[in-house]
Symmetry: C2
Subunit: 412 residues, 2 copies
Amino acid sequence: MNTATGAPARPRPAAAATQATLREHNLSLVARIVLGAPTAMSRADVAAATALTRSTVSRLVDDLLTGGLVREVAKVGGGLGRPATPVVADDRLCALGLQVNATFLLARLVALDGTVVAEEAVDGDFVGSDPAEVLPLMGACGTRVVAAGGEDRTLVGTGLALPGIVRPETGTLLRAPNLGWPTLDPEPMLAAPELGPVLVGNEADCAAVTVAQPVPGRPDGPQDFIYLSGEIGIGGAAVLGGRVMRGQHGWAGEIGHVCVDADGPACPCGSRGCLERYAGLRALQTAAGLPTTAGIDQFAAACRAGDEAALQSLATATGALETALVSAVNLLDIPAVVLGGHLGRLGALIAPDLAARLGSRVLAGRFGGPTVTVDEHVEDRAPAATGAAITVLEGVVDRPAAWIDGARRARG
Amino acid sequence: MNTATGAPARPRPAAAATQATLREHNLSLVARIVLGAPTAMSRADVAAATALTRSTVSRLVDDLLTGGLVREVAKVGGGLGRPATPVVADDRLCALGLQVNATFLLARLVALDGTVVAEEAVDGDFVGSDPAEVLPLMGACGTRVVAAGGEDRTLVGTGLALPGIVRPETGTLLRAPNLGWPTLDPEPMLAAPELGPVLVGNEADCAAVTVAQPVPGRPDGPQDFIYLSGEIGIGGAAVLGGRVMRGQHGWAGEIGHVCVDADGPACPCGSRGCLERYAGLRALQTAAGLPTTAGIDQFAAACRAGDEAALQSLATATGALETALVSAVNLLDIPAVVLGGHLGRLGALIAPDLAARLGSRVLAGRFGGPTVTVDEHVEDRAPAATGAAITVLEGVVDRPAAWIDGARRARG
DNA sequence: ATCATTTGTTGCTTCACACAACATAATAGT
DNA sequence: ACTATTATGTTGTGTGAAGCAACAAATGAT
């Protein structure tokens, strides 16, 4: 884990701080300690981990208990002295993650401890589909998954991952080229108010969240990296200090449209020779002479079988990735590249080669160059659904007091 | 001004917050309000601008007064009611900015209100120089400038801008290719302990600070942009939310080594076809058939006179800039590009062309594309010295309580 | 001269955390 | 079995920062 290096600078104070700010901060701190610990922690453990006193921690933990963020488990004897009362993430607090993809819809209920409580997928071909038909399907699917989660769950809210350009602040989709969707506001179109507030995010951004934070509130794995999500095109995200970088319009990290060859083929994005034209799934299929229905595993098999055309297009793709990543790694001065989606499934075919090439070409080369690894979730076809749910849960962990007071008010 | 978009995400709480944290936060807030206001503000004005009460503001302002960050000025009648006691930045609090360049050393004493109190330059040729000789010269120059500032100034510390790769945390220079300097630790080599703690920074990073924050504590102008600093090579910085992005090793934003042509000429950095090979001053001089002693204004004159070779190399440079910036702008999703150094002096020759080309090629094109402007400080040959001093002063504004308590302890 | 209006200060309250003492519940030693 | 030891968690008091309300101060309007 590595938060120090690329971590964003402390933002300037914009609003006055009151004692409520202090409580919010420390509640969040304690919640993260409990959620992030590999094993259950007692109040005394938390006090030792923070600079807070046992009495203060006790009060904060009690607040988190009433808010349903954490849960006491059976006392454990073991050592000397009074046995501790361990506290863990409360798995009754859940968020729903939704993902709309070219070939499937998927809803996944994720608990605060990171477990998948329930899940359902709807397969289909959603390229060129009508959002007014698809989104209600997605909403209904989500509702079924929430119901399958059982009675005693508390749903915090819903995250929706879409393969397109998204403005997270307003929750609008600007364009989803691979689905053929125009600008739209997805939340009402889901027609499922019972799913709570809906956070909309880009598919690659959401998937990148699961790399930096596989479990809510528990940063793990690289915290500074470039994530490449290969789907039909190539999505990307830049994670700095464990946070996904957004940029002005919300598409920071979109490495798929970094220019690889100024004289290359035109791209619908307006530029020429974009990485996506060389390493996107469509590009690989075409160059290898495979049908567009061929999966990436078919392409990988052709490569391993020594197919000339396939190997040629793989080499072109690797070269394009090299060029794009050299620029990106130098520009962001970032120590790691993580391959997801179809690029992750090609992992062994390209990762070592790519790592060697980057090591000899980036400024950081003399320090070993960036690592190139495959996303551990590559076998999961919908990591973005998990990431969307985690992002929603993160919102609660970020501002526990707001949630606790809200829950308390709702209860009476 | 535009801080919302590219602003770094709020970092996760890492340490427990106490009431001291609260005071520090609000002191910083009040200081920034006073320093950032275009006109002097009374305590009541500050209370209105923040959500703080007049009584709280009064106490905070009193603390800032004792710390020497702000100063009361003559009461101003004007309107109805009791006349206010306006408070402004105290110009007796100063930081020293030092800059070592290929052709000069410069020391500049900058006050908290942004005024330049004193300045001295030493011209020379420092390419291939011995840092053990040059840095003491720089230190002595700084000492003279501090003395010239007068008796009643309080020196907070010193910032040193160097044309090379720097690790700000440790204050070490890793490499300064254009000076021919190896890895070294500049602070002791200045041999000037009276200059206080020395903050070391990269030249482009420091210069970029003056674009986002021309006066300490007063964000002004673009807050999210890519800065290009043309010197012998091309330095660069990425500013997000008004803060210079550092990256893992400290060279984030180094756009000079973004790859423009994968088959281009080799670059000492290890890559090929770097932007610097096409748009650096040396590259322009060579391509235009000018001697390396020719200044950028001579090159510009040749272009305006219609010189074939000069125009050709200008076109090559603009094309290279276009390619590099398309990648960078897409990757960072950033709305502005600011040209400094020799690229700024070419401003009118390249900025409009570049803006048009970017507008048609970046993802944001349909929203107007990034603006391309010339750094307002382009006539100042040492904006980095100012930026280094501002960065030091920023440290005090960021943590006023630490400074005030330190000052109080020192006084007795 | 009196009143209205705005500024800045003062005294009291509230709230969050620190500190210290204590109650609690287990193990270790005799 | 009984006591000492040790660690956990709670309680009660103190401190410090901000909120609130009342008031003193200084000026313009009537």
